[in-house]
């Protein structure tokens, strides 16, 4: 009770300090007056009466101090005093405060943002039960290993391995799929999804939020009329209504029943059936799951039909290596027992590696870069704080001579650094948010990017990092300056104390480290940027300005044969339907005003190799594994002129080929590989058991990937009309309105077509190098930050050392040295750490380049331009940084310099 009342009274006093001070003053004055009065009455003289009264009272100041200690919260009050003092001091050196703050903000913010991306993309476990146990297995065939090291999985092998392996608990098989989905009213929309074996959900440890998972019976042909939706799809298609269960959706034109809705937390990353292919996109992309029903021949095929991905869960305690050796052993034994001519094998990989394998290295590179910036920033902070600590040695000595305790002095420094650290930390949080937004914009191609969030622990980390570095680098010099004896510190001037050889050496070392870091970072940045510039500016061997692409999806049932592969592809009813639709669409597109050319192809440009097949010559058999491989593309007449790909020999397809559709055009490289040293025109190749005659040779072009020419063989589209045709239109119209027109024409032909993508060729090109752009942009940012930090650091150290040597320079000048000589002295002083740092940086860059070589495109890791430019930029920056200190040194007034000492 007492304690509470005292606390309350102290609180009250805390906020009314000034008034209470006045009252106390008055009270003390009255007291003295009373005493003087009484002393006068006793007959003392006026002067004596006053002296006596004061003596009786004791120390007035001490009394007031004791009274104040009793009254409020002395600790808080001195703390507030320290805060005010620190603010005043920081205001007096705005350069220092701004530099420290900026450094803290940039550094902690950048580290936090990049780390949150690394965490979200690479480190965060997947949202499954025990994700560490989940693996992916792929198959390999020794005979074609040098071409294609890994293959998708064969259904029959999957069943065999799943039944016999003891190292796995369960294995599910799946295939990516695209469904055109419609509630039955409007144009169907495309939705990505997976066809999965019924045990897929139990393997991942996921129970549907509503309804149920698939039953084994539903994985039989003709009984697979059910779908399971993700939470997101349920919200989008049914607005989260529970009546969705049992509702009917038209999927690919067929009515299907919704039997389950997955929980909100469930995410499955984008996968590629082709091994080693970069995957990207939101982990919310897959929205619809269907039971996987194998085709009849997939159940029997033993050395073909590698069409799937297998996801397995290891037994507890079993390592990937153990599982790999068991599965590989079973596969080899089975293949031998079956008397297969090819040598099969199995490769097991962690699930995470399957998803992020491609992107891991660039991301870690970024993280390393940001850590480099972090290191440099630390060096700068240390430098700044040391300089500051020395500068206030005199002040510290004075205060301690006046009776300030060690603790009191330390508290002052502590408060100042805490303030800087906290302000820096708050700034860093803001900066991290901004940086994360930018990252998300420039890195749309990262897998799992939608799972990147700045979490609370991450933000605490930013704040903590800022506080810790601010305190760490602020307190060490403070402790050091406390050790100085007040007497000697006051006698000597601060310059003598800190101008020691050792201090100078450590400052030079810090500059060297900083220069080394920024040289490394600049060179890596220059290399990656140059590689990116190469990628953008090189000849693509096609020219597609003013071209708009529209991808249409013909998945309504009249186009699909219900999924069965026809006996005579191209001549069946569904193929004819697709042919007619594509035909009419092309006619419509060509009739649009302003259209210069229109064509169709079977695969979206710049989306990588797809539909790769061997070029087999009936007249010239080659051993398996040496068959040249090429991408199969179905195109219409006019494709080459629309894409700007020149024909080197022969002719384009023409309507006349409809009579005899078995014609093929080869890309130059493919022609040379299949017909080395011969003229391929008029010769034949075998494909799908049919004989095709070569009628043309097209120039090589980078239609799949900007990094290299794609080997291609082109077939006329009516030979097997694509189910997902891509229409290309070159027009003088604006891209926006052209896109609208193209949609209108396509829907005019068939309103049941879904059109997932309409995009200009330029955008498609830009998107295909999104990862490279992301790297280049981010690294440039870090490179600029590193350069800025290095400039600040060099400037700080030089300016400081010039200010320390003011007296020396004064003496030199008085003795006849001229200004040029002084400037040279300063530059010389700066040059040794600079040159040393550059040498060190080159070594660092050489080490880093080895590591990033695989990221570089047609750019040598020892690219003289990149290295020369980086060094030149750094030298220029260093020169700029030393300009002001050098000028200060040269403009020293010898009289004043000597007098201030």
């Amino acid at each position: 009770m007492d304690q509470l009342r005292i606390l309350f009274s102290r609180c009250a006093a805390f906020f009314r300090g000034q008034r209470l001070d006045k009252e106390l003053d008055e009270e003390v004055r009255t007291h003295i007056d009373f005493a003087v009065e009484e002393n006068l009455k006793r007959g003392m003289a006026a002067q004596e009466a006053r002296t006596e009264a004061l003596k009786e009272f004791g120390g007035v100041t001490q009394t007031k101090e004791a009274y104040r200690m009793q009254r409020g919260f002395p600790l808080v009050e001195t703390l507030l005093g320290d805060v005010r003092y620190a603010l005043r001091r920081l205001r007096k050196s705005p350069g220092f405060a701004a530099t420290v703050l900026l450094t803290l903000v940039l550094r902690a913010g950048a580290v936090t943002a990049v780390f949150s991306v690394v965490d979200g993309v690479l480190l965060k476990p997947f949202a499954f039960r025990n994700p560490g146990q989940v693996v992916v297995w792929r198959e390999s065939i020794r005979e074609i290993e040098h071409e294609t090291p890994l293959l998708p999985d064969n259904y029959r092998h999957y069943l065999n391995l799943k039944a016999r392996a003891h190292s796995i608990q369960d294995a599910a098989i799946l295939q990516t799929a695209r469904f055109s989905v419609s509630g039955g009213v409007d144009h169907p929309q495309l939705a990505d999804g997976l066809a999965v074996s019924p045990n897929f959900f139990s393997l991942l440890g996921v129970t549907p939020f509503l309804g149920r998972a698939f039953t084994p019976q539903e994985a039989q042909s003709g009984r697979d009329k059910e779908v399971i939706l993700t939470w997101g799809a349920w919200q989008r298609l049914f607005h989260g209504s529970p009546t969705a269960l049992g509702a009917t959706l038209r999927v690919g034109g067929e009515p299907q029943t919704v039997v389950g809705v997955l929980p909100k937390w469930f995410r499955f990353p984008v996968m590629s059936v082709m091994p080693g292919e970069a995957t990207s996109g939101s982990t919310e992309r897959y929205e619809i799951f269907k039971p996987l029903v194998p085709m009849p021949d997939e159940l029997t095929a033993n050395d073909a039909e590698f069409n799937y991905v297998v996801v397995a869960r290891l037994q507890p305690g079993v390592s990937i290596r153990q599982a790999q050796s068991e599965l590989d052993g079973i596969e080899k034994a089975t293949a031998a027992a079956d008397g297969l001519a090819i040598h099969l094998g199995v490769v097991v990989e962690p699930f995470a590696q399957e998803i992020t394998g491609e992107i891991g290295r660039p991301l870690w590179l970024l993280f390393a870069a940001v850590l480099g910036v972090l290191l440099m920033a630390c060096v700068n902070l240390a430098n700044l704080q040391i300089a500051r600590g020395v500068a206030r040695e005199h002040e510290t000595a004075l205060r301690s001579a006046l009776g300030a305790g060690r603790a009191r002095l330390l508290q002052g420094v502590l408060v100042e650094n805490l303030m800087l650290g906290a302000a820096g930390g708050l700034g860093a949080i803001g900066f991290a948010f901004l940086a994360e937004k930018l990252l998300a914009l420039s890195a749309a191609s990262l897998p799992r990017l939608n799972e990147v969030h700045l979490s609370v622990p991450m933000l605490c980390f930013a704040l903590g990092l800022s506080l810790a570095t601010s305190l760490g680098f602020g307190m060490a010099p403070a402790l050091r300056s406390l050790r100085a004896m007040p007497q000697s510190a006051l006698q000597s001037s601060s310059t003598r104390l800190s101008g020691t050889r050792q201090a100078a050496r450590s400052r030079r070392l810090l500059v060297a480290v900083e220069v080394a870091c920024s040289v490394t970072l600049l060179i890596v940045t220059a290399l990656v940027t140059r590689s990116f510039a190469h990628l953008l500016t090189q000849d693509r061997h096609f020219s597609a300005q003013q071209v708009v692409l529209a991808n249409a999806d013909l998945s309504a049932s009249k186009y699909t044969n219900g999924g069965a592969i026809p006996d005579d592809p191209g001549a069946d009813r569904a193929s004819l339907a697709r042919d007619a639709t594509i035909d009419r669409a092309l006619d419509g597109l060509r009739a649009l005003p302003g259209v210069q050319a229109a064509a169709v192809t079977s695969v979206m440009p710049l989306t990588g190799d797809m539909s790769v097949d061997g070029i087999v010559r009936p007249d010239h058999p080659v051993p398996q594994g040496e068959v040249p491989m090429a991408n199969r593309r179905f195109t219409s007449p006019g494709y080459f002129s629309t894409m700007g790909i020149p024909l080197l020999a022969g002719r384009d397809f023409g309507q006349g080929d409809r009579e005899n559709p078995r014609v093929v055009i080869l890309s130059d490289a493919t022609a040379k590989a299949a017909f080395p040293g011969e003229n391929p025109l008029g010769r034949t190749i075998r494909h799908w058991g049919r004989i095709y005659t070569v009628v043309g040779i097209a120039a090589d072009a980078r239609i799949n990937d900007l990094k290299r020419d794609a080997p291609v063989f082109y077939l006329p589209y009516w030979d097997y009309p694509p189910s997902s045709p891509v229409f290309l239109v070159r027009s003088s119209q604006s891209i926006q309105s052209l896109g609208q027109e193209m949609r209108r024409i396509l829907w005019g032909v068939d309103p049941e077509i879904s059109i997932p993508t309409v995009v200009s060729m330029d955008t498609q090109v830009a998107e295909s190098v999104a990862t490279e752009r992301f790297q280049a942009v981010l690294l440039s940012g870090f490179g600029a930050a590193a350069l800025l930090i290095a400039v600040l650091g060099i400037y700080g150290v030089l300016a400081y050392s010039v200010s320390l040597r003011t007296q020396e320079f004064g003496i030199r000048m008085a003795l006849g040295s001229n200004r040029v000589a002084l400037a040279r002295l300063v530059l010389l002083d700066a040059s040794s750490p600079m040159l040393g740092g550059m040498a060190l940086g080159l070594v660092g860059a050489a080490a880093a380049a080895r590591w990033i070589r695989s990221l570089l495109y047609e750019t040598s890791a020892a690219d003289p331009w990149a290295i020369g430019l980086s060094l030149a930029v750094l030298l220029l920056a260093a020169l700029l940084a030393s300009l002001v200190p050098v000028r200060n040194a040269a403009s020293i007034n010898p009289m004043r310099a000597l007098r201030t000492e």
Binding site: D2, R5, I6, S9, R10, E23, L24, E26, E27, V28, T30, H31, D33, F34, A35, E37, E38, E56, F57, G58, G59, V60, Q62, T63, A66, Y67, M69, Q70, R71
Partner: protein, 112 residues
């Protein structure tokens, strides 16, 4: 400042102030200090200033109240008076002090 010694002294001073206010009624700081000196027969040399932190302490506990008023010589001064809680507290403090004094006496008595 040695901690323990001043604590004992503080406690003593507090009780002296309370007793003074009990016997004299409302009084200003100077009056209290003079009264303590007189009663102690000037044996106790008191820094008069120390009375103020003590008064503040008592006021914080709610044992005394203070009020600005005029002295006999028409000087503005702050007058302190015993509060009802303080009046009750005197008994307790007195008992406490008696107990301590008795204990001390027993220690100091010549051992037999």
């Amino acid at each position: 400042m040695g901690g323990d010694k001043s604590d004992v002294l503080q406690g003593t001073l507090d009780l002296m102030v309370l007793k003074t206010l009990e016997s004299m009624g409302p009084l200003h700081g100077y009056g209290i200090a003079r009264r303590i000196e007189q009663v102690s027969g000037n044996v106790l040399s008191l820094n008069q200033g120390t009375i103020y932190p003590a008064l503040l302490r008592l006021e914080q506990r709610g044992w005394v109240n203070s009020e600005w008023g005029a002295s006999e010589t028409h000087r503005r001064a702050k007058f302190y008076s015993l509060s009802p809680i303080g009046r009750k507290q005197i008994e307790e403090e007195t008992e406490n002090w008696a107990r301590v004094a008795a204990t001390m006496a027993r220690f100091l008595a010549p051992s037999n």
